[in-house]
């Protein structure tokens, strides 16, 4: 057995690795033999976003009706409530009005900026042409907020009303009963080193055994993915499709600040085949939110969402907005769902249900999903309370009433009206076909059509990626600070970090298998067919295909390097990698971005 002194002389910098506990004597963590602390609760909610918190608040409000106390626990992987929440955002207060009718009387509420105008512009390389927009996009009565702040505010309200919110603890996996129904959630392990061995600080995750488990992880949640597969929740619905939203918040020059102005753009820098568009929202306090959403069904693997966003800022319209005495104060990114009604899966499973964007209720025409997410949470709470009030029932809670209630609610009619718009962009006419159809459907027909476009071929975003040989590399201009910067400079603004010595949370895994051969195949297919798509697509610089002749898991002198510390939890890789062999899992809780104003 090597002694410490021998090792120290042979390997430089080992001092930093050894700390106080000897690495050699660490044991590999074995999940099957570990003993976990277990806690019984009534409802366990994974995710403290608008949906999860609305569910929790509604449950506590129903306590009085039920006549008994409910123990409601919300787990949140971000360091604080709101740390992992990012959105445009212009929100429709419809659900908030129902949840907290007196919200305007609270003196710390964040809805301080009303949307005062709503415009759409078509961008060419140098022009910005005003165009009419679908009536759903008029923002009368809506508010421009930072969703991160809004969520933090909801989190305070939830805690006041008695919800147990635990930020810094991720929902890592599902606890099943013997008959395969969902019995609760287990949190992440802490104190595992990079090889999966237990450090001195090791503590196993604990289990929350709940009669009702609600998943509110946001778009493409990791537990939601597992449950959708296990219970085949998509058997009657289309696959979910997504967009990636990249965002910055700027403090603009006072001459450029027009509070309440809402602008959406289409066209440049995206070509007619790529769905997407930009936004400019003038928030409160002299801040402006700008961003670009790109449909993840894009075909060209050379596309880099980050670089598209950076070059969009050099368009005269944006360059003027950001000119003068302006400072960029935030950057971030997150996937959002675009599949609409046709992609909503079955919402309930034995023992629980999906709420919010984990199910997928974004109204693509309005570009809003918060109101539907919150309402879905409230309806789930009502169904859960009903299920819990049946004291004598044995077996897993039946949440089917939630799905019925949702289909009879305004969420369904909200999504029904716009159900054909996104799918109309999936023709060879690209955005022109989509704009023409959407114009007619939204302005004249308002969704009252007998037809519903379906994704009959069940093509996912990953499958719509085409091989690189069909395209030429896109020549992005170099960054020109202060307007545009390189990716790592932007990344520091997210405040993202993960404790270094922990297992890499981005797994090269397919059908549950991980091995060197799979990694080699990943590198081979991604480099030879798709020009290393992940390296261009990830908005945090996590993935790199680097030259390394000696790597055991490399191909043709290249290997995949995963800089998981940079990850901002946007889920793009899991959605878009053409070989579908990246599985996003939760890292130790408390890591990831530290958003406050996005």
């Amino acid at each position: 057995m090597l002694t410490r002194t021998v090792l120290r002389s042979r390997i430089p910098n080992l001092n930093r690795l050894l700390h106080s506990s000897s690495r050699i004597s660490r044991q590999l963590f074995d999940p099957s033999t570990v003993e976990r602390v277990s806690e019984d609760v009534d409802v366990c909610i994974v995710g403290a976003g608008p949906a999860g918190l609305s569910t929790a608040i509604r449950l506590k409000q129903l306590e009085q009706k039920l006549g008994k106390e409910l123990r409601v626990v919300v787990l949140e992987k971000g360091a604080e409530v709101g740390s992992h929440t990012l959105s445009g955002a212009v929100i429709e207060p419809r659900a908030l009005d129902e949840l907290l009718p007196d919200w305007a009387l609270r003196d710390d509420h964040p809805l301080t900026q009303s949307a005062t105008s709503s415009r759409m512009r078509f961008l060419t390389k140098s022009l910005s042409i005003p165009i009419p927009h679908p009536p759903q996009m008029s923002n009368h009565g809506n508010y421009i907020v930072s969703l991160s702040r809004f969520t933090a505010w909801l989190g305070n309200i939830a805690e006041e009303i008695g919800v147990e919110v635990y930020p810094g603890f991720a929902g890592a996996g599902v606890v099943y009963t013997d008959d395969g129904s969902v019995a609760g959630i287990r949190t992440n392990e802490v104190g595992l080193d990079r090889l999966g061995c237990m450090k001195e600080s090791f503590e196993p995750g604990m289990e929350f055994r709940a009669r009702v488990t609600l998943i509110a992880e946001g778009a493409h949640g990791s537990i939601a993915k597992e449950l959708i597969q296990k219970f085949d929740l998509r058997r009657n619905s289309d696959p979910q499709t997504y967009g990636i939203g990249l965002k910055e918040v700027w403090r603009v020059d006072p001459t450029q600040y027009r509070p309440g102005e809402v602008v959406h753009t289409m066209g440049w820098p995206l070509d007619f085949r790529t769905y997407g568009g930009g936004w400019v929202y003038h928030m409160a306090d002299g801040l402006v939110s700008i961003g670009l959403v790109i449909g993840l069904d894009y075909a060209n693997p050379y596309l880099s969402p980050y670089k598209e966003f950076q070059r969009m800022k050099h368009h005269p319209y944006f360059a003027e907005l950001l000119s003068g005495n302006s400072t960029r104060i935030a950057y971030g990114g997150r996937s959002l769902n675009e599949g609409g009604l046709q992609s909503v899966p079955q919402l309930y499973f034995p023992g629980g249900a999906l709420v919010g964007c984990s199910a997928g209720f974004v109204n693509v025409a309005k570009i809003k999903g918060t109101h539907n997410a919150m309402k879905s949470g409230m309806l789930a709470a009502e169904a859960a309370a009903a299920a819990l009030s049946q004291e004598s029932s044995s077996g897993p809670a039946d949440m089917s009433q939630y799905e019925t209630a949702l289909k009879n609610s305004w969420v369904w009619s909200d999504l029904n009206e716009v159900r054909n718009l996104r799918e109309s962009f999936h023709t060879p006419l690209g955005i022109w076909g989509g704009i023409m159809y959407s114009g007619v459907d939204s302005l004249l027909l308002k969704g009252r059509t007998p037809w519903t476009f379906r994704n009959r071929a069940r093509l996912t975003d990953a499958q719509r990626t085409q091989p690189a040989y069909r395209f030429r590399p896109i020549n992005y201009p170099p960054s020109q600070p202060p307007l545009s910067t390189d990716l790592l400079t932007s990344l520091t603004l997210t405040g993202t970090n993960h404790a270094e010595d922990q297992p890499v949370h981005l797994r090269v895994r397919k059908d549950g298998n991980e091995n060197t051969a799979l990694r080699k195949l990943h590198v081979q297919r991604n480099l030879s067919e798709y020009a290393g798509l992940l390296q261009r697509a990830c908005p945090a610089g996590v993935y790199e295909y680097v030259e390394d002749e000696t790597a055991a898991d490399g191909w043709n002198g290249h290997k995949l390097v995963i800089n998981s510390q940079n990850c901002i939890h946007c889920k793009l890789c899991d959605i878009k990698v053409p070989t579908q062999d990246i599985t996003w899992t939760v890292p130790e809780g408390g890591g990831g971005p530290k958003y406050t104003i996005v």
Partner: protein, 272 residues
């Protein structure tokens, strides 16, 4: 011969809620300070102090009676106390200041701690705190407190050994030339350092079961006025600005050009 009765040790750990180390800070538009609307967490040096207190108890077992943590801060600082309780402290004191009040200065903190220590009926034997806070980098509180109390102090500690029977602590300090070993009589003030090569300790995680238990541990709320201490700042911050942006360097083609640029910049040569 029976051993003489040893009074059990009471440890006090002052902690501070500071801006999280991973946050990219910005100067606020009024240029009076930094934008505080960002993530805060326990000062990393104070985390080490809490961990060291818990380890002292693990080493000495029954000789330690209690570990009390204290913070002086706005209402949100209660979360920081809960984390310390989850790491192993027994009870907490929150000296609450309003959200709008400025962060107290080291002298104010030291005076408050003195008042608090004098209030403890069972006395305090060891005060262990971080050597500095990462937001103001003052590094003064421990030393000022030792001066006010007239106690021994060992700052920048990288190793602590307490001997309760003899009422001394053997402490290794980090100094410029290397390490210094001190023997201090109790009561003692120790400030903890963060050493690159060998950490004093690696703070444990506050596990979720411990956080849930910590909710039941007592937190005493006080104000500075109740302690009879005036913590109004004595220093006025006039202006806070970012450091000047780095201007890019330039390449010169030959020595003559280098001399010309040096002259432009105001450097003149003198014959030796």
């Amino acid at each position: 011969m029976r051993p003489s009765a040893v009074r059990l040790l009471n440890i006090l750990v002052p902690i501070k809620r500071a801006v999280d180390y991973a946050v990219k800070i910005r100067v606020n538009p009024e240029q009076t300070g930094i934008d505080l609307n960002v993530k805060h967490s326990m000062n990393p040096f104070d985390e080490i102090a809490v961990e060291e207190a818990v380890r002292i108890r693990e080493r000495l077992k029954d000789a330690v009676k209690s570990i009390k943590v204290v913070t002086i801060g706005p209402p949100k600082s209660a979360e920081t106390l809960r984390t310390a309780l989850a790491m192993g402290a027994d009870s907490a004191v929150h000296v609450e200041i309003p959200d709008s009040a400025p962060s107290p200065e080291p002298l104010g903190v030291a005076k408050t701690l003195k008042a608090l220590i004098e209030r403890q009926k069972e006395g305090v034997d060891i005060v262990i705190l971080g050597k500095q806070a990462i937001d103001d980098d003052a590094g003064q509180t421990g030393q000022m407190l030792a001066g006010l109390m007239g106690w021994s102090q060992a700052t920048f500690a990288s190793k602590v050994e307490v001997n309760p029977e003899q009422k001394v602590a053997n402490i290794t300090r980090e100094i410029d030339g290397g390490l210094e070993e001190l023997r201090c009589k109790l009561p003692v003030i120790i400030t903890t350092d963060l050493r690159q090569v060998q950490l004093l300790n690696e703070p444990r995680y506050a596990s979720l079961p411990n956080i849930m238990k910590a909710k039941k541990k007592p937190v005493e709320k006080l104000t500075a006025a109740e302690l009879g201490v005036d913590i109004t700042p004595r220093l006025e911050t006039i202006k806070v600005t970012e450091p000047p942006k780095r201007v890019g360097g330039g390449k010169v083609a030959n020595v003559d050009e280098l001399l010309a640029k040096l002259k432009e910049a105001g450097f003149t040569g003198k014959r030796a």
